[in-house]
């Protein structure tokens, strides 16, 4: 535990990423441009020859970094790697002219060239991206410096830059996902909070498995999480600093508290408090502890999520007789129902771009992950299974993670990701069962 925590701290803090522009005189107009909205019929082929190790100590990490970059790009479904076995020309010098004809011959449309050096625990990674068919660099070369331990984050940073230049969208690979790791039989599941990279790597645990934990959520600065714990004997919202593992709760909220989320400025927490007969949404000011009731009435009002500008809250309520999605002011007051399709709607989450709401829909005994505009129009269901639940947005608003539970006595949850186009559904590898994912923002 202690070791893992320290490792996590090393990953998150010790890395001092210092991007430096290389060869700033390169100015060009890229012709390779991928529209993530249209949905790619054919993934764009790219090549990432193993980054050049500029000293002996850098060899192993140079290979690892190259593989993580390729893996990040492939995971989007937008790109396809031309394997090293097909490469005609090797790359032995970061500054040597690129043999475009050799890359063109194997149909590599994007080429990523990089070099890695290590010195006294410090790692320096530089890379350049080329549009092979235009025979031109795409953007400036960039150099990242950090600790050797932080190599994976640097790889994600490189992949984010490549993704961003090729798609025009912000990246999302240099991020964390906090989730509930599950073991044991269905009737007595053991649950622990854990945090990992977007691809399931670098996992570390934040709690033991002695109490049920649910629905962790990152703070806007990615340093704290809110979650629900049964440790006190009742479900209670807890705030944890993920670096120190220090916890605090919100005192006696006179009932069960759950479904927490931070406001976008990190000053407030919204959550549900239930006395059993009634479940309402409250806001708690983190500095003063002042509590404001935002909904009232006998309905179940839960799963609140702020708009990114902090002015509105989307939530679910059964005030109409079944679970539906509503939007209200961040100060409470009258709420407007936005879900009107067949079935029940829950777990709404506002997208980081502000334009969409992701949700869980239960219809005809099946569960779906879907998205709609914030006025409820353009509903689109992205998945369907026995039990799909709890979407969370990638930092750039292009991908959703959620959990899918299989039916039956041996049924168990795993985390999945899907593009908002509905394409590229894939399982995120975790060492045990996993549920309740929540994506961080891009790390700083």
């Amino acid at each position: 535990m202690r070791y893992l925590t320290h490792k996590l701290i090393a990953f998150l803090i010790a890395l001092m990423l210092a991007p430096v522009m290389l060869a700033p005189s390169w100015a060009q107009t890229p012709t390779l441009n991928i529209d993530v909205n249209v949905g790619i019929r054919e993934p764009v082929p790219f090549a990432v020859p193993i980054f050049i190790a500029e000293n002996n100590g850098a060899q192993a990490v140079a290979t690892e970094i190259s593989r993580v970059i390729a893996s990040d790009l492939i995971s989007t479904g937008l790109f396809r790697e031309i394997p090293a076995a097909a490469h005609i020309s090797g790359v032995s010098d970061f500054n040597a002219p690129v043999q475009f004809a050799d890359w063109r011959a194997i149909n590599a449309q994007a080429l990523i060239i990089g070099a890695v050096s290590t010195s006294g625990g410090q790692l320096t990674v530089k890379f350049r991206l080329f549009d092979v068919f235009a025979q031109a660099p795409m953007g400036d070369g960039i150099q990242f410096t950090g600790t050797e331990e932080g190599w994976r984050r640097i790889a994600h940073k490189v992949a984010d830059t490549v993704y961003s230049r090729l798609t025009g969208e912000a990246g999302y690979f240099d991020s964390k996902v906090v989730f509930v790791s599950e073991t044991g039989p269905k009737g007595d599941r053991r649950k622990r909070l854990a945090v990992m990279d977007h691809d399931g790597a670098s996992l570390s645990f934040l709690t033991e498995d002695n109490a049920i934990v649910q629905s962790p959520r990152f703070s806007p600065n990615n340093r704290e999480i809110l979650y629900t714990s049964y440790e006190s004997g009742q479900p209670r919202v807890v705030l944890m600093d993920i670096f120190t593992l220090q916890k605090r709760d919100f005192g006696d909220l006179q009932g069960m508290s759950f479904a927490p989320r931070f406001s976008p400025d990190g000053t407030r927490v919204v959550l549900s408090i239930s006395n059993g007969s009634n479940t309402d949404i409250y806001a708690i000011d983190l500095r003063s502890g002042a509590r404001t009731q935002l909904t009232s009435g006998p309905a179940i009002d839960t799963a609140p999520s702020f708009s990114p500008d902090g002015t509105q809250i989307v939530f679910e309520s059964d005030r109409s007789g079944s679970q539906q999605i509503y939007v209200m002011s961040a100060n409470g007051g009258e709420a407007k129902r936005i879900s009107f399709g067949d079935g029940r709607y829950g777990t709404p989450v506002w997208s980081p771009r502000g334009d969409m709401i992701a949700f869980t829909k239960i219809l005809g005994g099946q569960f779906h992950i879907g998205i709609m505009r914030t006025d409820g129009s353009n509903e689109k269901l992205l998945t369907r299974s026995f039990l799909d639940e709890g979407p969370t947005w990638s930092p750039n608003g292009r991908v959703l993670m959620f959990f899918r539970e299989t039916p039956g006595a041996d049924g168990a949850p795993q985390i999945y990701a899907v593009d908002i186009s509905g394409r590229n559904l894939r399982m995120v590898n975790t060492p045990s069962f996993a549920s309740d994912p929540a994506w961080s923002g891009l790390l700083q």
Partner: protein, 167 residues
């Protein structure tokens, strides 16, 4: 809390096991209708085993409902009578939901179910300071298949005696 309820359940199991052994060895009446105590005599009506086995500690609910059914009320009438006869006993009522719902909603729904039981017991004269409630939502299914056979057993509220006679 969880530990307490487990301990209670374990104690009940031990008592039940002892009962059937006693009945078998010493020739109980064999029709299965009597619950016998450790000595082969009638079980102590103030015991937790009596509360759990004879009265029944669990009531079931319809899909997405917290309304008490006539069957549930019949059980709760006896639970209330037992609690009124054993005024030192306190209870924890656990509300549960089946897996066919989202997590937060099911926590709230389990709360409604526990509250429905609590409110009914209070209406039958049990002081509300003797009752605590908790919701486990869909976290702790009793039956683990994914069909109505199991779901109907999981939509439940369980009254657990946490202090008083035999605890």
């Amino acid at each position: 809390m969880r530990q307490l309820s487990k301990a209670a359940a374990l104690a009940a199991l031990l008592i039940t096991a002892a009962c059937s052994n006693t009945g078998g060895l010493f020739g109980g009446n064999g029709d299965g209708t009597d619950v016998n105590g450790l000595n082969g005599g009638p079980i102590d009506e103030s015991s937790i085993a009596y509360f759990q086995q004879t009265i029944g500690d669990t009531v079931l609910f319809q899909v997405d409902q917290h309304t008490l059914t006539p069957e549930a009320i019949a059980i709760l009438n006896q639970q209330a009578a037992w609690l009124n006869a054993n005024p030192t006993a306190t209870v924890l009522i656990e509300g549960h939901a089946d897996e066919q719902g989202t997590r937060d909603y099911n926590t709230a729904l389990g709360g409604r179910r526990a509250n429905a039981v609590s409110a009914y017991l209070v209406s039958q004269g049990v002081a509300d300071n003797r009752i605590q409630i908790i919701s486990y939502g869909k976290e702790r299914p009793l039956a683990v298949c994914s069909s109505e056979t199991c779901w109907s057993q999981n939509r439940r509220a369980v009254t657990i005696v946490t202090s008083g006679p035999g605890v």
